[in-house]
Symmetry: C2
Amino acid sequence: MRGVSSRLGRLAAAAVLSLGTMGAVAASPALALDGLVEKKVFEMPSYTTTGGGTIKNVRIGWESYGKLNEAKDNVILVAHFFSGTSHAAGKYKADDAAPGYWDSIVGPGKPLDTDKYFIISSDTLVNLSAKDPTVVTTGPASINPDTGKPYGMSFPVVTIRDFVNVQKALLDSLGIKSLQAVMGGSMGSLQALEWAASYPDMVKRVVAVIGGPEADPFLIGWLNLWAAPIKVDPNWNNGDYYGKAEPKAGLTEALKVVTLHARHWKWADAAFGRKWAEEGKDPRAAMNNQFAIEAWLDKAAAARAAVSDANHFLYLVKASQTFVTGNGNSLEDGLAKIKVPVLLIPSDDDLVFPPERAMRPLKERLEKQGVAVEYTDSITSTLGHLDGVANIAKAGDTITKFLAR
Amino acid sequence: MRGVSSRLGRLAAAAVLSLGTMGAVAASPALALDGLVEKKVFEMPSYTTTGGGTIKNVRIGWESYGKLNEAKDNVILVAHFFSGTSHAAGKYKADDAAPGYWDSIVGPGKPLDTDKYFIISSDTLVNLSAKDPTVVTTGPASINPDTGKPYGMSFPVVTIRDFVNVQKALLDSLGIKSLQAVMGGSMGSLQALEWAASYPDMVKRVVAVIGGPEADPFLIGWLNLWAAPIKVDPNWNNGDYYGKAEPKAGLTEALKVVTLHARHWKWADAAFGRKWAEEGKDPRAAMNNQFAIEAWLDKAAAARAAVSDANHFLYLVKASQTFVTGNGNSLEDGLAKIKVPVLLIPSDDDLVFPPERAMRPLKERLEKQGVAVEYTDSITSTLGHLDGVANIAKAGDTITKFLAR
């Protein structure tokens, strides 16, 4: 492990900003974390995937907030969403434009109370933001030590379980044997549920935000569409583009789909209305004249594309599509492994994981098998799926109480 | 005008079939239309668009069901959806695999009773299915008489109002001066509302199905994403691909987005579940192993792409994005022109025009200005937006009564 905070550049702040302000999302922490956050790196000489593939020299970035107690039993693990990173809270530098994405609930006196808990968060394998200097990940863009060249599409398929297993190895390396809770939003909630199914004796509680127990068939279809523009871009070249022209156009369009799918018409109404992108340029007057929301999507996605890797995007899509709690072929069997209390926090307007399809039936299934389930949709505002990131503080009291139960 | 039914090929049946059976959609007409349907062609030497562009030699296909009475006052105009055509009912040949898309409500004794009404439907300008031999349309793929070459992106921008104006010219040519109703689904509903705002003295009733009074900002964003894969495909070449390799990959992906967006998770659950595309090929085992829904999307979209034109797709997106009833800049002003009774038929699960955003507020606005509005969501089933095509017969009685009022 070694610190890489010296490498932290302005890109990270820009990436957070693109989420934080361009989408009318704001976090206003009442209390800041003590001191600055440092990115650390966990290394494994070799990792064998659930599918039997081997990845050598695995390197994963992680950060933590609060102090690990002597018994090492005050730990909360936070898992990140599809386009997220381990930067859940705090700032790397005092003048960072914005703190980590869930800073509103992480800090002294906040629901994830750093006076009490040691909160740890790690970058996943195949993290999307492979070019973000604050992210450390291993994936298709990494050098395969056996060839000296980037893996590209020869990188093994990875699953949500693999993300969990690498996190487990990280915790093992720190001597952590139990978790007060695993919490995550969206793809992070899949990891949280997978943790409870994979390591039931280690996890005391699950907090699953804007997610579900599996990728449902409609979401599997949507994830295919997220990825599609990358494959249409000839620069993708079956994943072999490192050192050449990259599939920037395809990646940008892919990120546009993610960006819009994760939001809602209430957001679009409030943020843009039917405004034109440029004054005097009526969209009816020329094929290239745009509406404001179109220009914004182009710009927001281009900013994200600058720090993202197209192959990593495809591998994350695959990991998300194949998710079913327990990583078997039966959701029922997977959920049966969960015994601990679960807090479910959906957004009512979520188009990615519609609660009616995802968290509502999950609540019923878990209750049927005797699990203590709490459910609150108090985060629902105008952002759809993204309410789970931007408005998580609205569920703050519920989270505080749940962690104390 | 001349008949083109001799040109009708198997493609049309295939296209209807792809909608009719692959998506678990079925229409079971109780009574068939008398005789076969014939495609006719309406021609205009020149049409000036609302934006001031000129289109010479406009040719638009149309068909009709029932008989025009002597007073020419028993007419119902049916306008089609984004990927639809004028083939609303009946068959071209006795052995066609499926009839027109709304056959379940068009025929003797049905809500659009051909014993009573003369029902007419026409292909729009820039109709998507430019390569379907049953479709006659004028758009970017047409030859510009001034250059002898296809227009490509030099074709003028067209709006929903332009579609309406060309329909008006068609009706003028037949001596039709009043309409018992204008009815349409999705993009057809936009035309129906536009008719009532543009020619208020000619239209007696409006039946708007799975649509809204404008493209809302979120839908404007989605329509941008529908189009995006075409522009990423280098074969698109800024619209200049005629006689060269066409942007087939991009067009196919674009049609995949439309196909999925127009449906719902209830459909995906029922039709596919988490089934794999091929037995023994676990999607976790290889990046190219697919789920069944992915393989179906690929196949359904490829079938549609075979009869579609990519530039026409882009022009239809533009016409849809720019729609606001009345074709001005104020929805309020546009709706104020509507005085006649309106029947609104949303699907509760519509992701393209969510009723909460589209038809619910439309109902309130129209009622506020004194319009007699009826509203029924009885078509809602499991198909989302597409319920408006597949399950329209569930609103049959409501339509019958509305047309009689």
